[in-house]
């Protein structure tokens, strides 16, 4: 009889890294379905190219760098999917390809691969695309979803951000507004959020605090009343960013208090950029800036360790 010996613990929570990544992919499915339904074949094309490019880039890099190939951990698929959902359906295929390759090779692998990147790969790639090909990325590239009005309206539409009064709350919730593939349907995103929280893939903290923070700071800084603040909160990529990008494990803080500070500050930055910046949208930069601040928050938050408090202070 040959027995295996190893140190304790001898059992593990069945939730593995690959499983967590799969959960996020599953949570994205409602968003993907609505996006493809709303924008049609071009959206499917963009998503397929960005996912394929991310996976191929990861595989090639790990082969070339003689690293163990970990494509099956679903993290590259997820990066590709999130980047694709961050693009307008009119994005040319080569842009999706370049974006994913940049996300995987430059942002993720050059900084040490899974777990060592300090920026969210998909977001950093989106920022690069935004700076490199603004025509294809900015609001001018957004089209109205085809299922919203009869007939394809290929003419660029006003974004809900630059003209807040033009769409009703219901249209915003269902996704009958122009935007990137993933951000339009708030209901699909919320379904994904519930799935992620129920499978304890993420905690509710970052999404809820971030969205709440955008709402509160819009009220305080922009003004205009409760309803217009709500519309601003449901506009653009706030919800998608809060659920799927700000919650990226690698680039968000770990302890609950740190997560709350991080998410609240993202909300503040978004509102500041929207109000005072040149971009109508600030989600990308809000999250990226706080990604950079994450190690600082994690490091400087005081840690409460058992056995260091005065025991009198903790009489139960």
């Amino acid at each position: 009889m040959s027995l295996r010996i190893s140190t304790a613990p001898h059992m593990h929570n069945p939730l593995t890294t690959s499983r967590l990544m799969q959960n996020v992919c599953i949570a994205l499915m409602p968003t993907v379905l609505v996006g493809v339904y709303a924008f049609g074949f071009p959206a499917l094309m963009v998503l397929a190219v960005s996912v394929a490019s991310a996976v191929v880039s990861e595989f090639l890099w790990q082969k070339i760098a003689h690293q163990p190939v970990r494509v099956n951990d679903f993290s590259a698929i997820l990066t590709g999917l999130i980047l694709g959902l961050n693009l307008p359906s009119t994005a040319p295929w080569w842009m999706a390809m370049v974006g994913s390759a940049f996300a995987i090779i430059v942002v993720k692998q050059l900084f040490g691969g899974l777990g060592d990147n300090f920026l969210n790969p998909a977001l950093a790639a989106r920022a690069v695309l935004l700076a490199s090909w603004p025509v294809h990325m900015a609001a001018s590239a957004y089209v109205k979803p085809t299922f919203f009005e009869a007939g394809v309206d290929a003419v660029s539409a006003a974004t809900p951000l630059s003209s807040p009064g033009s769409y009703t709350l219901m249209q915003r919730l269902l996704g009958q507004i122009p935007g990137t593939i993933g951000e339009v349907s708030k209901i699909a995103i919320l379904i994904g959020f519930l799935f992620l929280v129920c499978t304890s893939t993420i905690s509710w903290r970052i999404p809820v605090v971030m969205v709440g923070s955008v709402y509160v700071f819009t009220l305080l800084i922009v003004g205009g009343g409760f309803e217009s603040a709500l519309i601003a909160t449901l506009s653009g990529g706030v919800l998608f960013g809060a659920v799927f990008m700000a919650t990226d494990y690698v680039t968000s803080p770990i302890r609950p208090v740190a997560q709350i500070i991080y998410a609240a500050l993202i909300g503040l930055i978004i509102v500041l950029i929207r109000q005072f910046g040149n971009y109508p949208e600030g989600v990308t930069y809000g999250i990226l800036l706080m990604n950079i601040a994450t190690p600082l928050i994690d490091r400087f938050l005081p840690q409460k360790i058992y056995g260091y408090q005065k025991k009198e202070a903790k009489k139960a």
């Binding site: 027995l3 304790a8 613990p9 770990i254 903790k314």
Partner: protein
């Protein structure tokens, strides 16, 4: 039910009755084998020295290994019969330990016993010597000599004895059955200690997944002075010494200190029952309840003699139901995997869990994704992912700065880690290394051999945890042996 608990922690198998359903309703049955192999190193500290030779006849309860100093306990024959070998067997840690093999003649003759009688009338001064003579060590897994635990330094005060009936490890039901079937014995043992130390309060902590045990113990406490039951939330490591103290008294043991610094002494329910046996009947510790579960045909709670061979126990439980991949002594979270089924049962062996080949397979580490599950799990409040980075670089100074020495090696972080990182093993390695370095430094500056008290401090500062640390316990056993 109003339950208390500690911060963070994990809850393995929470939807499967913590894996205990196979054995929880099975009454304890006795099993005595033909041959026992009794290890001389069953306690933290110095191993005992064999005082019988091949061919000797021994009776049950006869001393076969003499304690070597204060930080050591005597070992007794658990069966009557002939000593067939005094040799060395592989220890659970590294190296070998001495062991006495006895062939059972099933005559069941006992040595002459010296009972002290009713615990409420016994001379308080006689209790601790009786415990020492009975060879009692912590029966929850840490194997710390109980008489050492009950002997305080000058000036230390104790106002509460906490009894650990949490049994927070998955799969194990030994303590549960003991609480159901021998509840009065546990209270007797607790009362004996309370009287010996003149402590007014004794609290028995039990997780709320064992409501029957809570009722049984509450009944047993009725009419007894100063003892009560405290239901606890079912959560791992609820039975960890520090967590139990925090949950029950709201106090924290200062870093690097012993529970007595928080004016508390923690005893396992099994230890209390053994104390009652020693005081009331004068019987030494020669048997214990052991839960045998996992891939065996007939999972059981067995009352086994110390030194019973694993193979015999598995045979008594109907044999393996699948090809075994791993056999764990103790619980799944802190138990130690044994190299083969010839390993005998120790005083601390509260369970034998057999895993099949699939369950025994371990996965390779994948990169840390900073998900924070380890931080959310750590009952001490450490940042395991950061300590692991330091440990991987063998940067012991950095690990110490991140408070690795406060780690109780409960395994919660490693259990939760989705990347299957070897967190707990790394931390144990760090702790052992740092302790060994400190010891070497101390030895260089002060070349005298350590006194009993110093040996006790050395061993305890290393192993403040008393929950199921067989692995840690056995490592320190060798360390303790080396100092002698």
């Amino acid at each position: 039910m109003l339950t208390k608990t500690f911060k963070r922690g994990v809850h393995p198998l929470h939807n499967m009755h913590e894996g205990k359903s196979a054995t929880r309703d099975l009454p304890v049955r006795e099993y005595v084998s033909d041959t026992v192999v009794i290890s001389m190193a069953m306690n933290i500290g110095a191993p005992a020295k064999p005082c019988v030779k091949k061919g000797d006849h021994v009776d049950i309860g006869q001393v076969i290994g003499e304690a070597q100093g204060f930080m050591s306990v005597p070992v007794h024959a658990s069966v009557s019969g002939e000593v067939v070998a005094v040799d060395s067997i592989p220890s659970l840690g590294a190296g070998n330990v001495q062991a006495v093999t006895i062939k059972n003649d099933f005559a069941d003759t006992w040595v002459e016993l010296h009972p002290l009688g009713n615990v409420e009338q016994v001379d308080p001064k006689a209790v601790i010597p009786a415990i020492q003579a009975a060879g009692i060590t912590g029966m929850g897994g840490a194997s710390f000599p109980t008489h050492v635990k009950l002997t305080f330094r000058e000036g230390a005060t104790c106002d509460t004895i906490v009894v650990n009936g949490a049994e927070c490890e998955t799969h194990l039901t030994a303590d549960y059955r003991l609480m159901l079937e021998h509840s009065t014995r546990i209270v007797d043992g607790l009362r004996a200690v309370m009287r010996a130390l003149n402590v007014p309060k004794g609290i028995i902590g039990i997780e709320d997944n064992k409501p029957e045990a809570i009722v049984a113990m509450e009944q047993a406490c009725q009419g007894r002075a100063g003892v009560s039951v405290q239901p606890l939330k079912t959560k791992y490591p609820q039975g960890g010494e520090k967590q139990l103290i925090e949950a029950i008294t709201g106090r924290q043991v200062p870093s690097g200190g012993l529970p007595i610094a928080a004016h508390v002494v923690v005893l396992n329910v099994g230890t209390c029952a053994a104390i009652a046996d020693a005081v009331i009947d004068g019987k030494p510790l020669i048997q214990r309840i052991c839960t045998v579960t996992g891939c065996v045909r007939k999972p059981s709670n067995l009352m086994v003699r110390i030194g019973t061979i694993t193979e015999d126990i598995i045979g008594e439980c109907g044999g393996y139901s699948e090809t075994p991949g791993k056999i764990v002594f103790g619980g799944m979270m802190t138990g130690i995997a044994i190299p083969n089924d010839q390993m005998p049962v120790f005083k601390s062996s509260n369970g034998i869990v057999v895993l099949n080949e699939k369950q025994a397979k371990s996965k390779d580490e994948s990169p840390c994704i900073h998900c924070g599950r380890c931080v959310a799990a750590c009952p001490i409040g450490l940042n395991p992912y950061q300590i692991k980075v330091a440990a991987d670089k063998s940067d012991f100074a950095a690990a110490e700065k991140l408070h690795v020495m406060d780690c109780i090696l409960c395994g919660s972080c490693a259990y939760q880690c989705p990347s299957r990182r070897w967190l707990t093993p790394s931390f144990k390695f760090c702790k052992d290394h740092i302790t060994a370095e400190a010891k070497a430094k101390a030895a260089a500056s002060k070349p005298q051999p350590p006194s009993g008290d110093a040996a006790r401090n050395a061993a305890t500062s290393k192993d403040v945890d008393s929950m199921g640390k067989q692995s840690a316990g056995h490592a320190s056993k060798q360390k303790g042996g080396a100092t002698k």
